[in-house]
Symmetry: C2
Subunit: 316 residues, 2 copies
């Protein structure tokens, strides 16, 4: 049994155990999440994604320091679809964890694929809910890469920050078009490098190009983030830009429809994940996909009838 009250008291070990259960797809995790739901909805979730090499993790590290200095409790979810390991073993996490090891008000959790398809976004939503229930009012969701997985993961965020740097190639396409579309705030990190003006100009130009009709308001912030300190130039401005987006969108007239969109994304991911678990189970009862395929190849049944039969056996 999950110790719900321990999680609500913010006890690290209880929270970490539930996150492990989420990772392992234990049924107990679903029950715990249901019990925690009434205690969620207080956290503000910021997603941070962008080009590899743009210094995302340094920006996140500086943001942790920034929000800690403001007295907030900070939860961090670091998502790496390319890694098979969950639980905090990836990238700069260990370094960061060491730095914040004595700080009970920072909780850093890594998420990776466990071989299941498209499950990362679901896990992100679920882990964010746990952090929220634990009382982390400021949650940062960071991605390592920039693929479709990462774009999906960003659906969990209230504000999406896309980080880029000058000199990623002359090509304006250095920042992927898909990323630009989800950006609420754009960061030009390492902006003391040559070419920062041009990068900012290019970004503005791309935003204009992509504007079909009304142009989305996207603030561009320059940072020179330094690991572990909010003193890094521009981090306070980044914090202010996120706050401005929060007020504009999440306290504005469109807040309700935005909230429904965000929840729809969560439900869609959840449905996809649950239904694919059930299909797996139904297939297992028939000896697995390869056995069904072998029966079809032996012309014992046709593929369409076989698929329909499996769906009739779907566990409820």
């Amino acid at each position: 049994m999950t110790d719900i009250s321990a999680i609500l008291r913010g006890e690290i070990r209880a929270g970490a155990r539930l996150m492990r259960d989420i990772d392992d797809r234990r049924p107990a995790a679903m029950d715990a999440l249901k019990a925690l739901f009434p205690h969620t909805g207080r956290a503000y979730i910021t997603g941070i994604t962008g080009n590899p090499g743009a210094g995302k993790s340094t920006v996140v590290d500086a943001m942790i320091a920034y929000y800690r200095a403001a007295g907030e409790r900070v939860g961090v979810v670091c998502v790496d679809p390319t890694s098979p390991f969950s639980g905090g073993a990836i990238l700069g996490d260990r370094i960061r964890m060491q730095r914040h090891a004595l700080d009970n008000d920072v909780f850093i959790r890594s998420l990776a694929t466990r071989g299941y398809l498209g499950g990362l976004s679901r896990s992100t939503f679920d882990v964010v809910a746990v952090l929220d229930a634990m009382g982390y009012t400021r949650i940062l969701v960071e991605t390592v890469g920039v693929g479709q997985d990462e774009v999906d993961v960003m659906k969990a965020a209230h504000t999406t920050v896309v980080v880029t740097v000058p000199g990623l190639g002359d090509d304006i396409q250095a920042i992927k078009a898909g990323l630009l579309e989800i950006a609420d705030v754009l960061v030009v990190n390492k902006s003391d490098r040559e070419g920062a003006d041009r990068t900012e100009r290019d970004l503005l130009h791309m935003l204009d190009l992509r504007a079909h009709g009304e142009r989305k308001e996207v603030e561009i912030v320059r940072t020179v983030a330094t690991r572990g300190t909010a003193e890094g130039s521009g981090i306070a401005q980044l914090g202010a830009a996120i706050e401005a987006h929060r007020q504009r969108v999440w306290q504005g007239p469109a807040a309700e429809s935005r909230a429904i969109n965000r929840r729809s994304a969560h439900l869609a991911e959840l449905l996809r994940a649950l239904v694919s678990d059930r299909v797996e189970q139904a297939l297992a009862r028939r000896g697995g996909l390869a056995d069904v395929a072998a029966a079809v190849e032996a012309r014992k049944e046709d593929p369409w009838s076989a698929a329909e039969e499996i769906l009739r056996q779907l566990p409820t």
Copy 2:
């Protein structure tokens, strides 16, 4: 009702009508496919994919002429995930269709996304089954782009041909790594261009690099394809390379396990598509995803219980 015997007689209009039903996801299409299944399994399916600009459609056009000269009936499925239009309106299809308009033994069909996710590969398998039942013994599946969709579509093929050209950039990565992994035959088209030797050397090098343990046997063929004729240098060699792959793999000891793998891919796509139709229906009964999300946002239920409830209502 679908006219099964007309399809089995190879009547174009009956076949085209069924393909439209497949596109439109009509239940009648499933019934027709079940009825046709005993009459499938005779066709040999070759997939053609590769870099945009590599001249894929010219290669396919020359292959049509090559197989027609050998007296085979040729079905072509042209898959374009970026187009919302199915049915033959895309790209060079109209040109090709005109050329082959009087030839009843060539059937060209375009497939595009109709907004559904991951359904293209399912449609490809289904349309290929119709062409197979219609008596097209040689089926060419051509993709327009080179994304994950196209890689999935290639699962329908017995032999996958990946087309590239010299001078797509100095970068050896010009041919995407994912494509190289699925290639059974590699084509260096426009090989009269400068750099063909280097491209071939690079491809060999990449094949060696990617070989973990035993290297897959991949023949490299040089072509200078010319639209509408098999006289184009290299097309006969390409035909021979495809035939060699067929004999090596599909008439060799691994044929059965390969056939089961291919069928597993078909079943997996089918299950994914059917289950997502059912989830849509279950959601519609609850007023759609946004209504469920609104109920969750109003805290009337939690997302996990809502998702489970929807799955309990899944139509069988």
